[in-house]
């Protein structure tokens, strides 16, 4: 069995070597991407461009607006004189938030009445808008509470903070996006490279007519499939290791759990993804179609459907069921649990079972299809 396997592996490696550009891309680009995206990607909503519409122009209103100008969550753009200006700025994208102080602001406060401050937000980007609203609301509430406290202090009373609020954030206390995204990126990049690199292997030989030659040789389909996947498995393992090292040195992301378990997960997902690529390769007749199917079955689902950026639990139920087709979903749970939470096999075995089933199914169907052709 092994002796028959060796020549195929050697042949596949030779083909890879003959195309150093592709090999370089398979090894170096994952590293480049992790650096680029690890620095660039975050959901932190800071420095939201903001305009101010102060209809009161009193010392009181200016004191509150100062807080906005000095907040890291907002970036002061300019003062405006009306709602049409705000709309203009929103439309041109010059501002995404606006604070409107009513005419009666100072008068209300001095006479002991509640006053309202409007916070306008451009809602097109729902996530940014939601966070900007939250940050502005908190800023106003904090200011208001301090003002109320000052009022009582001036009356000679001892002031206290009624609720001493102590949030405790587990696993990622500073709420750094890269802690969440970089482990996810490992799965994303591995699945993509594996699917793309294998999805062309068989179909390429079909287009060139060399598949027939392999088929008439005494090789069994299992040997062909293994011979075609093992080289890419090795390349992907190297790429994964590079990513882990960079993640540690650049972003300080440590593997809290067992390294062995993490690599077991990496090998399983790579085999599953290679199986997916091979399956695409056996069902298509041209490289063009194979590429399109692999992009639409790996790039977008791995990005959007797997929970890489958008939590699966927020999706409609039907889609939560469909998300099971994106094998990356299970790997993401494994890699995040093992890396960030230090989880053991007892916590992630269901994911392993699913990934193994996926790998067997895709590889099995690919072999069946290949043996049928040869008959």
């Amino acid at each position: 069995m092994y002796r028959a396997l060796k020549p195929i592996i050697i042949k596949e490696f030779r083909q890879i070597r003959r195309d150093p550009t592709s090999l370089g891309m398979l090894l170096l680009l994952p590293a480049a991407l992790i650096v680029l995206t690890g620095y660039a990607l975050n959901f932190d909503v800071k420095h939201v461009p903001m305009v101010i519409f102060d209809q009161n122009k009193s010392p009181e209103s200016r004191a509150l607006l100062e807080k906005f100008k000095h907040s890291e969550y907002f970036r002061y753009v300019r003062d405006v004189d009306g709602y049409t200006d705000i709309e203009e700025d929103f439309l041109h994208g010059r501002a995404k938030a606006a604070v409107v102080i009513p005419v009666t602001f100072a008068h209300d406060l001095i006479s002991g009445r509640d006053t309202h401050v409007q916070i306008l937000v451009d809602g097109a980007d729902a996530n940014t808008a939601g966070q900007a609203v939250g940050n502005a609301t908190r800023l106003v509430l904090d200011y208001s509470t301090r003002m109320v406290a000052d009022f009582f202090r001036r009356m000679g009373r001892e002031v206290y903070v009624p609720i001493d609020f102590r949030p405790r954030v587990w696993y990622n206390p500073d709420l750094v996006s890269s802690q969440y995204l970089v482990p996810g990126l490992i799965g994303f990049i591995l699945v993509l490279t594996a699917v793309i690199s294998t999805s062309l292997t068989v179909v390429r030989e079909k287009e060139r007519g060399t598949m027939e030659q392999i088929m008439v040789s005494p090789l069994r389909p299992v040997q062909v499939v293994l011979g075609k996947t093992i080289p890419y498995l090795l390349i992907s393992l190297v790429a994964a290791t590079v990513i882990l090292i960079l993640g540690y040195f650049l972003f300080g992301i440590q593997v809290k759990g067992s390294m062995l378990l993490l690599y077991a997960g990496i090998v399983t997902i790579i085999i599953g993804a290679l199986g997916q690529g091979l399956l695409i390769s056996t069902v298509t007749d041209s490289q063009q179609v194979a590429f399109m199917i692999s992009v639409f079955s790996s790039l977008l689902p791995s990005f959007l459907l797997s929970g890489f950026v958008f939590p699966v639990s927020n999706m409609p139920v039907v889609l939560q069921v469909l998300s099971n087709l994106a094998v990356n979903k299970f790997f993401l749970i494994v890699v995040r649990s093992v890396m960030l939470k230090g989880a053991g096999l007892s916590a992630v075995w269901p994911q392993f079972v699913y990934m193994i089933i996926f790998a067997f199914a895709t590889l099995g169907i690919s072999m069946r299809r290949m043996s049928k052709r040869s008959v």
Binding site: D19, T21, L33, Y39, L41, N42, F43, D44, V45, P49, F90, H92, G112, T115, V117, V121, D122, G123, A124, A126, Q131, G134, N135, R138, V140, L141, Y143, S144, M147, V148, R157, V159, P162, I163, D164, F165, P167, L175, Q179, Y180, I196, L200, Q287, Q288, V289, F291, M292, V295, F296, L299, L300, L305, F310, P311, S313, N314, M315, V318, L319, L322
Partner: protein, 388 residues
């Protein structure tokens, strides 16, 4: 394979030459039924699925509560949480440690601990502690939840302060009440933001793949050389090759825009003709990029890897599709200026959600035109050089 029939290519007027190449190209596309099927069916499926998947909405979060005080005050405080649309109390535990598994296994998103003495402290005008525990792995979700919790606590704390400090009803103290209003997408549906984005993405992938692989394939098969020795001029060949893909691209666009508007109910506030015109500019850039890839790739596999790693992935991450550009390091913000998808996303979202017109969107349109013209000029130059 080369001509759709027995006609000779390269004879006749300027337009008839291009027309012949288009005919041949369509003939080839028709022959490859699967290819045509994938280029039409894939965008539909993708938009339908991913339109639902791409959501940052956090509808409601489950709460696990450990109320060790069980006083009137602690119950009133809890009500502040459960009265909002953000939190639903799902579990109650007796001891704080019992909360851990709920958070660990993500059965509850947020845990609330009210220590004993909460009510007593408040009545005595002393600070009362409240602890909140949450899983920070998903930093974005955790941030949103923490923000909600902070708002509820700050509002409650302020009202308790006023209530307990007032010595007489005649003492009046004003508060500043924040009043958030959201324009353009009042319900903060992330779908309205994401679906136009998915439309742009799918359009880009289809047109770039078709062009780059279509031309490299002919190179691999050697049929490109055959076309070269005919009297067809390079630009005629390129034009004839690009036009069919433009037509498929536009057909895809009409389909996915229809789905976005009628299926996902994304409001269409702006002008449809403007959207089509500017989409044409965007397709110009993606076809140009496809052509460019085909001039540097030696095989279809290389073309695929280049498209995937140098274009699709960076575009996906750096165009502002999901991650706001304003949050990126300045250097990377500069990189995003050469990404056509960035401008097209601003255009699609602006026209759909804000009803923006050319008065607002001309800089984006100009950028697309500039990128499109330069990349096509560059690719045509490279293409000709290879041929000569």
């Amino acid at each position: 394979m080369i001509a759709g029939g027995n006609r000779k290519i390269g004879e006749g007027s300027w337009w008839s030459v291009i027309f012949e190449i288009i005919r041949k190209e369509f003939y080839q596309i028709r022959q490859d039924r699967r290819m045509l099927g994938v280029s039409i069916a894939a965008p539909i499926l993708q938009v339908l699925l991913l339109g639902y998947a791409a959501t940052t909405d956090i509808k409601y979060s489950t709460l696990v509560v450990c109320d060790m005080d069980r006083s009137e005050q602690s119950r009133a405080f809890l009500k502040e949480f459960t009265n909002t649309s953000y939190f639903v109390q799902r579990y109650s535990v007796v001891l704080p440690d019992e909360m851990d598994p709920y958070i660990q296994d993500a059965k509850a998103n947020i845990g609330l601990v009210i220590p004993p003495g909460f009510g007593r402290h408040l009545l005595a005008r002393q600070s009362a502690q409240v602890q909140v525990v949450l899983d920070g792995t998903d930093a974005n979700t955790a941030n949103v939840l923490l923000n909600y919790a902070n708002q509820i606590v700050a509002t409650y704390s302020q009202s308790v302060l006023i209530r307990t400090m007032k010595t007489a009803p005649s003492v009046r103290v004003g508060r500043i009440i924040p009043e958030p209003r959201i324009w353009f997408n009042p319900d903060l549906l992330s779908q309205n933001f994401m679906v136009p984005g998915v439309v742009a993405l799918v359009l880009m992938i289809i047109t770039m793949t078709l062009t780059s692989l279509g031309i490299v394939k002919e190179k691999e098969l050697g049929t490109l050389e055959q076309l070269m020795v005919t009297p067809i001029k390079p630009y005629q060949l390129i034009l004839g090759k690009l036009l069919p893909f433009t037509i498929i691209g536009f057909a895809d666009m009409v389909i996915v825009l229809t789905i976005a508007h009628f299926w996902f109910q994304v409001p269409m506030l702006g002008s449809l003709p403007l959207l089509f015109a500017l989409s044409g500019l965007f397709i110009l850039t993606t076809l140009g990029l496809g052509l460019f890839i085909s001039t540097i790739a030696k095989s279809q596999q290389q073309a695929m890897l280049i498209a995937q790693f140098f274009f699709f992935m960076p575009f996906l991450f750096l165009s502002g599709f999901t991650f706001p550009i304003a949050n990126m390091p300045v250097l990377i913000q500069y990189v995003s200026y050469v990404i056509p998808l960035r401008y097209f996303l601003e255009i699609v979202r602006g026209i759909f959600l804000k009803g923006a017109g050319l008065g607002e969107l001309w800089p984006q349109a100009a950028a697309l035109l500039l990128i499109g013209v330069s990349i096509i000029t560059l690719s045509v130059a490279r293409f000709r050089k290879r041929l000569e």
